[in-house]
Subunit: 354 residues, 2 copies
């Protein structure tokens, strides 16, 4: 899919979704829309990602299939200055994808234009309306399923997921990310925001994602949500884990964080204890061990100190650890997929197409 | 509130909600509608519950404030033969409460009549539309909070909740049930169906229920949902426990059940292990112990055998146990509320009104 990405006035530092698509996305990025940087290229600002021209508006973008809203203002509102770009996209027959609180599909002008030009408005926060309860079958899929889990929200689960997929692919494995939140969905172009599903159906949403992805790929990395320790979001985490039934867990933590963000009365226990709690939680439904750790060391200045923090984290959870952004995800990739499965799956993905 | 309860052709054996209201409800039951038993009285069929006349139709019911749909056909549909009763209720200015899948509030005729007669159509499965994320504050309430939890769905959590409230009240405590599912809501006349909340808001729903009830009562018994071991519903259970932050847990189990109902590949671990798993799960957010057990022995024929099963269950979880229907909930009530709190709360509820 060829996409243009709207990131007005915010590329690259305040455009997490736009940068994420350039870095990790399957999409072919034809342009980034940022009126403040029109004439530059993505590569002028972000190295090592897919390059593309930065343009003033949708009217200047090359032919493409979709416009993605790649920024989210505080509150998730739709900025009126984006309206002409969305209008132009629809008039050119492009779908428009967004993860805002403001539902594009309830905007009369956009709905009319989309109908006229036979294109789609996709609000990726909205889960599909045919979700159902989990059948408890994700454990039977013909793929090795890894899930990222966290000591808290915003500990790097999405980034770790995407970095691990890249590292697994570099090993020759047919790996894919399973996006479970709006940013991951926009980056990968599919997925379900599990936290927006009706509570009874949240595990069913995770199950559906895993079963669909397992039909296409050999190794899955499921993007985790929340934390099993979180006073507000543990239910999302529980549904995701029991619905997805991973074979292995990767624990994500931010160095130095000692309490649940925004819920400071709730301490984060030592990493070793958090790892055990995850293993205990999944055990009656689908046993899985924490096989690797990802530590976000972005608040640690010195490289040596960051390296030491990663080593301590790995020792605490008794598994290989890395900071997949500062260092390399490949450092933990060896233990992620059991060797016999790796051989079988390399063989399978290298075999003739069915 | 004075209510009439619709239970056509199903009272009492297939009218769980209707019988529940007669047995446990705060409402004043003025009539049960069952065209097959018109002329009888409730007491002719169910001993030891609130008595009321059984009538042919809403036209024959005494003055009241609401009509409650007290039966649910398989599939949760609205039976067309009930339409005239609902119409009559609305024309008489009565609210209509239902927990069906068919939303009364989307039925044009009923909506029009409700508006004309200034009364309310309440579909209790629909959560309020202003739910939000939990703030993590339910642990601060000025009440002792007990939650029923289960080894599985349908193990007697609602019945145990209501029986415990009765037993606590018999001890002189100001106790109240906190209903979290449709049947409990219809019986008690308030509550939120937590399993229908958006996953992100489910803990917030539990928190709101506990905080509201704690403002009115000294001891709360929160109706549990699902099971922490359930492949499909564990997220609901997790949200409920972390949102409600109970001080104590009562474990409910059905004697002889060895696997999750409908998910037979998933074994139910021994009761002692399930109790530990609940305690481990709540510990980082709001520590609580399993202080009592409720065993549903309805499939055991002999009284002696049932008594033995209850004793074994209690020994396994190392806490007093009973079958609150076959035997007495009062047998486990002593350990539910710590003695110092009991004294303080009896004092408080006996004090002058604020």
């Amino acid at each position: 899919m060829r996409v243009a990405i709207l990131a007005h006035e915010k590329f690259p530092d305040r455009a997490k979704t736009a940068v994420g698509i350039c870095r990790y996305g399957e999409q072919d990025v034809v342009a980034v829309l940022d009126r403040d940087r029109a004439g530059d290229r993505v590569a002028d600002h972000v190295p090592d990602v897919q390059d593309a021209p930065i343009v003033e508006s949708m009217a200047d973008a090359p032919a493409c299939d979709a416009l993605v809203i790649g920024i989210a203002p505080i509150g998730g509102d739709f900025d009126p200055s984006w309206r002409s770009d969305v209008r132009t996209a629809l008039e050119r027959g492009c779908d428009v994808l967004a993860g805002l609180h403001y539902p594009l599909a309830e905007d009369e002008e956009f709905v009319t234009l989309a109908a006229e030009h036979d294109c789609e408005l996709r609000d990726v926060r909205e889960p599909p309306d045919d979700l159902d309860v989990s059948r408890g079958t994700a454990g039977d899929v013909d793929a090795h399923v890894i899930a990222t889990v966290g000591t808290d929200c915003s500990t790097g689960k999405l980034t770790t997921t995407l970095e691990l997929v890249d590292a697994l692919r570099a090993e020759g494995l047919d790996a894919a990310a399973v996006p479970t939140g709006q940013t991951g969905i926009l980056i990968e172009g599919w997925g379900i925001a599990v936290d927006r599903a009706i509570s009874d159906y949240a595990a069913g949403a995770a199950e559906r994602l895993v079963e669909n992805a397992a039909a296409e790929h050999d190794v899955l990395v499921v993007e985790g949500q929340g934390s099993i320790l979180h006073p507000a979001y543990s239910g999302v985490t529980a549904s995701l884990l029991h619905g997805a039934m991973p074979d292995a867990l990767v624990l994500c933590h931010e160095a130095g964080r000692e309490a649940i963000h925004g819920y400071e009365a709730f301490a984060i226990p030592p990493a070793s204890e958090v790892a055990s709690r995850y293993e205990q939680f999944v055990e009656p439904v689908a046993p899985a061990a924490v096989v690797a750790g990802a530590l976000n060391t972005s608040r640690i200045e010195g490289e040596d100190e960051a390296q030491r923090a990663v080593e301590e984290f790995g020792a605490a959870i008794d598994a290989p650890a890395t900071d997949p952004v500062r260092f390399e995800a490949s450092e933990v990739v060896d233990g992620l997929v059991p060797e016999d499965e790796e051989a079988a799956q390399s063989g399978r993905s290298g075999g003739p197409e069915p």
